[in-house]
């Protein structure tokens, strides 16, 4: 059996990111924070992809996470991040549980379209809500972090982002190696057999949908803390499309893949926008095209090809 180096790799990555905080310029710190926050949403997309479901509405929970934090902070005077995290998990899990009751009955394009529809409903509601800033959105106040009031908010958000992403990535990795994780691939390949092995594919998919939603909402919360602002674009379908784009870019072969994809996406987007301000979307499209042609299993397949990571059929 190949030795699992994931724990070591994730811990090293955390240590590097923490050490990097001292030397990273501000723009890079921000880019890393956003990449990790968005990487969580991509991880949520990948979690569902492994079960055969492609969500084109993950922006819904990205937005729910961001708005939960922003509304509690700005409208209800909650300034403690620990409370925001708990509230984000609770709200997103509740919304996902209710919507998942319906969505877990659908597969393929029907699932994809319904997730997008729910996301666009939230977008429509937010755009029409003047109390929530309509299309402009609104800003978050300064926060305390588990009782600590930092001098610079961004440093605390960076540390919080790194730690939360590390913990969620680790939990995801262990989940992936568990019976429930394997059953995701099994459901994708053959629901009838899963049913005849004594498990309910629908209940399992419902559970995975709630898990993915909570992860995406935490990504939304971290993104809102990093930017200090939320707006309805977080739920717009192009935002959800970007998450799917990044999932394909990174691949589904490992828990690190969504974060690598997200980081690369952020760099490509930043530089493409700088050098090709009017045609940057074309550059992104070209990158995706090249990835699909040369790395159909995503960037992570480069690591697998190098031999340091044994590919697992269920990951594809």
């Amino acid at each position: 059996m190949a030795k699992d180096r994931t724990l070591l790799g994730l811990t090293l990555a955390l240590a590097l990111l923490m050490a990097g905080m001292a030397v990273f310029p501000q723009w890079l710190t921000f880019l890393v924070m956003m990449s990790l926050a968005r990487g969580l949403v991509v991880l949520a997309v990948v979690l569902q992809m492994r079960a055969g479901l492609v969500s084109f509405g993950q922006g819904l929970y990205y937005c729910v996470g961001g708005y939960t934090a922003a509304m509690l902070g700005s409208l209800y005077g909650v300034h403690e991040v620990a409370v925001l995290i708990a509230a984000t998990i609770l709200v997103s899990a509740t919304v996902a549980f209710v919507l998942g009751t319906l969505l877990s009955r659908y597969r393929d394009i029907f699932f994809a379209m319904l997730t997008m529809a729910f996301s666009m409903i939230l977008y429509g509601v937010l755009v029409k809500s003047s109390a929530l800033g309509s299309t402009d959105g609104f800003s978050l106040p300064g926060m305390t972090f588990f009782g600590w009031t930092p001098e610079t908010q961004s440093t605390a958000v960076y540390i919080l982002t790194c730690l939360l992403v590390y913990l969620i990535a680790l939990a995801y990795h262990y989940y992936q190696e568990s019976p429930a994780g394997y059953l995701a691939g099994a459901i994708r390949e053959n629901e009838i057999r899963v049913e005849y092995l004594g498990s309910s594919p629908q209940r399992l998919l419902h559970c995975k949908y709630v898990m993915a939603s909570v992860i995406a909402a935490v990504g939304g919360l971290l993104s809102a803390l990093a930017t200090g602002h939320v707006d309805p674009e977080m739920a717009y379908w192009t935002t959800s499309g970007e998450f799917v784009f990044i999932a394909i870019l990174g691949g589904t072969g490992h828990v690190a893949a969504p974060f690598i994809g997200s980081t690369l996406f952020s760099f490509v987007q930043t530089y493409a926008y700088q050098f090709f301000p009017y045609t940057w979307q074309m550059v992104l499209g070209l990158v995706l095209l090249l990835i699909i042609v040369f790395l159909p299993s995503g960037l992570w397949s480069l690591v697998q090809r190098s031999g340091s990571e044994k590919p697992r059929a269920a990951d594809h």
């Binding site: 691939g185 390949e189 053959n190 057999r193 005849y196 004594g198 498990s199 059929a313 269920a314």
Partner: protein
């Protein structure tokens, strides 16, 4: 002896087509029952109804004294009725061992663990024991999608046997397998299954196999059971010879 499975007046219609017409039958514990019939006679419909995949339009199914007519497939499996499929239902991108491990972990309880690893030594040992019983240990690490049909059939049945069911229903276990391999394959299956003490009902088109392995034959025609008896009697029944077997058995028994 009380039957382990009993059906009463089982009917199933698909629009105007009657796939099962008033099927009343009882299966005893540890019996090996061969089910024969032409295509469309209602054999697979019967298996699908007993295993919860299809709900009967009318009639009842009992497991012992328990009415299981409305149970879902996973609930039917949980009480001890498992099945294999005409087209093996496997996870083709996983290895044989991983297929078995998923089956073993699913038989642990109704809700799979989200934290503990799938590949525990206890599960690997249990999976390897089943692979050994079905003589497919050599394919342990092979990706299922690359296996020949005969081995896939064995993996399919091995997965059904993981939970040690009281009743095993095999839908055409030798279809797609070469004539030369059929008997060896059935020998392996029957040896593995009889060791577990399960009642076996197998759907089969090959009459030689039915004659050799079945204690009892159910012959289906037009959604009905037209014969239910020992192989010698059932296969020589005039209706069975006319509608199911043709003259093949008759010729073989009388010689050229």
């Amino acid at each position: 002896m009380q039957p382990i499975i009993r059906t009463e007046g089982l009917c199933r219609n698909f629009g105007a087509v009657v796939a099962a017409d008033n099927i009343t039958v009882a299966l005893a514990a540890r019996e090996v029952i061969g089910v024969i019939g032409a295509n469309g006679a209602g054999k697979t419909t019967f298996v699908n109804m007993v295993t919860g995949y299809l709900k009967p339009s009318a009639g009842k199914i009992y497991f012992g004294d328990r009415d299981i007519t409305k149970l879902k497939p996973r609930e039917v499996m949980r009480i001890g009725i498992c099945r294999s499929f005409q087209i093996p239902q496997l996870f083709p991108e996983l290895s044989v061992l991983d297929n078995l491990l998923v089956a073993v972990s699913s038989s642990d309880g109704t809700w799979p663990s989200f934290v503990k690893p799938l590949k525990s030594q206890a599960r690997i040992d249990a999976a390897e024991q089943v692979l050994d019983e079905f003589e497919i240990v050599a394919f342990r690490d092979t990706i299922v999608g690359t296996l020949p049909q005969g081995i896939r059939k064995l993996v399919d049945i091995a997965m059904a046997m993981v939970s040690k069911p009281a009743v095993l229903l095999l839908d055409e276990p030798t279809s797609g397998v070469s004539a030369a391999e059929k008997f060896a394959m059935l020998d392996t299956i029957m040896a593995a299954v009889s060791g577990a003490g399960a009642t076996v009902l197998f759907v089969e088109h090959d009459i030689e196999i039915v004659e050799r392995y079945a204690d009892r034959v159910l012959a289906f025609y037009d959604g009905r059971i037209i014969a239910d008896a020992d192989p010698d009697i059932a296969l020589n029944d005039p209706d069975v010879r006319q509608y199911v077997v043709g003259s093949e058995v008759h010729r073989r028994q009388e010689g050229p």
